[in-house]
Subunit: 409 residues, 2 copies
Amino acid sequence: MRLSKSFLKTLREAPKDETAVNGALLIRAGYIHKEMAGVYDFLPLGLRVVENIKNIIRDELNKIGCEEILMATLQNPEPWEKTGRFSDQEVDIWFKTELASGGILGLAPTHEEPVTNLMKSYISSYKDLPLYVYQFQNKFRNELRAKSGILRGREFLMKDLYSFHTSQEDLDRFYHEVELAYGRIFERMGVGDSTYETFASGGIFSKYSHEFQTFLPVGEDTIYYNQDKSIVLNKEVYNPEVLNDLNATDEKFEETTGAEVGNIFKLKFKYTEPLELKYIDESNQQKTVYMGCYGIGVSRLMGVIVEKFADEKGLVWPETVAPFKYYLIGIGENGISEAEKFYTGREDTVLFDDRDKRPGEKFADSELMGIPLRVVVSDKTLADNEAEITDRKTGKSWRVSLDELFEKF
Amino acid sequence: MRLSKSFLKTLREAPKDETAVNGALLIRAGYIHKEMAGVYDFLPLGLRVVENIKNIIRDELNKIGCEEILMATLQNPEPWEKTGRFSDQEVDIWFKTELASGGILGLAPTHEEPVTNLMKSYISSYKDLPLYVYQFQNKFRNELRAKSGILRGREFLMKDLYSFHTSQEDLDRFYHEVELAYGRIFERMGVGDSTYETFASGGIFSKYSHEFQTFLPVGEDTIYYNQDKSIVLNKEVYNPEVLNDLNATDEKFEETTGAEVGNIFKLKFKYTEPLELKYIDESNQQKTVYMGCYGIGVSRLMGVIVEKFADEKGLVWPETVAPFKYYLIGIGENGISEAEKFYTGREDTVLFDDRDKRPGEKFADSELMGIPLRVVVSDKTLADNEAEITDRKTGKSWRVSLDELFEKF
């Protein structure tokens, strides 16, 4: 992408009410725009990051046999009334709206009820099971406060996966496959070594659920972990009974904060029973379907990555989610012409700063935008038939020959 | 994709309240699921069609320099109050909702106000113009009646493009570029020869706008056209004054119905003036930005394509938007093994019906699902070292040698 052909530019200031580091930096670097607290627009660079995150998740979920769908935002109360969750007492973050032709609708804060209902058209026999469907869809949650940038949105992008099974064993088997897939997903996004599977409270049918918590100073959850971090617990289950369950009564636990980037639940019959999602088994008996659900906060994850890696100069993206791999600057007539040559055919991986601006401004923008590698071709580097590469994360610069640049980059 | 590994199946019946042909067929063929009137979920095949339509539009818009963004659904009333459009008297299809922390929000029925507001952060000088941004985003419209399947949704996917300029001439120039791009888009989707640019009413700043109408018996608009279809008018501007403007007072016009798949507007200052989107020109004068907007109903277009081509056996997709190119069936042991060979490496273009079902059922499903070419490999065709190809649209079948199948398909 040529910056001269884009409307994007870095901004000197973020809005005064944007107190979160992730929100302020992403706004200043031109990735997002704030509509109101907890509601953001994604600009071209931000949208590329979101798509990169989605593609990593999609790839790992498709590998374990999941199928992508897209459910609606507007919610008919009917299935939610059957599970008791349309009530504002039960779910206190509903946005609701009135239908002109009469009746109340909700804006989906999650999709267990509609997906269970949808599956009544597709599941009737044990031959239809197991099955796994997921979507990337905006969720709407009427949060009283939303001051954490894109870490907590009133409208935010989530990946939600739902699985359906004939037995507890099969649910357990797939749940474990998702645990492994989530590990690969967070690893590929560069937060693998700071993201831990964490015990959290379960529900009616399961003593525990699991969260994936990225350790982060601005994280909203309080987390306890033992010395080798083999046991990590959300504060809500950090009590003697649970420690006993885990044979960890003698261990010393430390407290920290985390941001929940994913969660997985064995729902069992929680939704399939009230919504009567049944199947006929091999011996012609009608049985209730077992169900699991598995979320990843896509836009939150983007915010977590920002908070994790940003430094005093701006954003720092891991290469796998960065909107572009290279930030290209040509200085001087020959430098610009050589940069043009490098850009040609690499339009999708190179952000070419071909604007009529001073090199210093371009350097500062490349740092604020956080593109992994800066490539500078100037009359000075060309005198040695070379280009200069700078790693955004380490700040280290080195020279490569033009041959190497064109062959290996 | 292997049908045996998918939850998809064709359904015997659509819901009784689904009276539109497009809705009923898409539900029966497993492309969509109905949540309520005007609100649908997209299942794997339907989502693939939507993505194919988006990719064609994206490709043509990127070619003319447009940049993709993604704006929010939740709308702060402020900018809408400045243009007078937050009022339910002015815009009678708003869905509104209450913020827990106080205040009313709207669900975006369109995005002129927020995009104009957003551009205040990015446009200050003539050097920032022209610029063009678009998004694919769900729109929400509180329709009293929604009985046309995905032709008229309460929640539906739209592509909306907005352009910003320093002069009427530059707005005119880009408007014409979009007209040409729209022509290419509808052509690529197979509705080019039945879609006409149509005069429609303008607004404050422009006598006419243009719609793109696909002639269609179930279309909701009444359209008038002259003999060579060089002049096509929406009923709302079919009057002596307009005919006089177009030097068409002597021509004979016929009436038909159309579905509006796109519309383009020269908005000029309609939104930029009340929202004070200004720029500084070359002589340091502050001026108001010229604006245009350009929509395509993505999910509606999918419904139009269904209505246009479907026959008594089911859906018929043009190859460019079809979820898969081939529907593959192997019959008999050798047929199945040869089909497996053909499938390998073609997972993204072949829908492989490897289910344990009778050939007759598979043939019927391949027709209902509307995949362009059916490939059958059976012991019978293998006796001649051949496969049988059937064109869904014409119903014609022919034989190809296995060599040709593996090389050319």
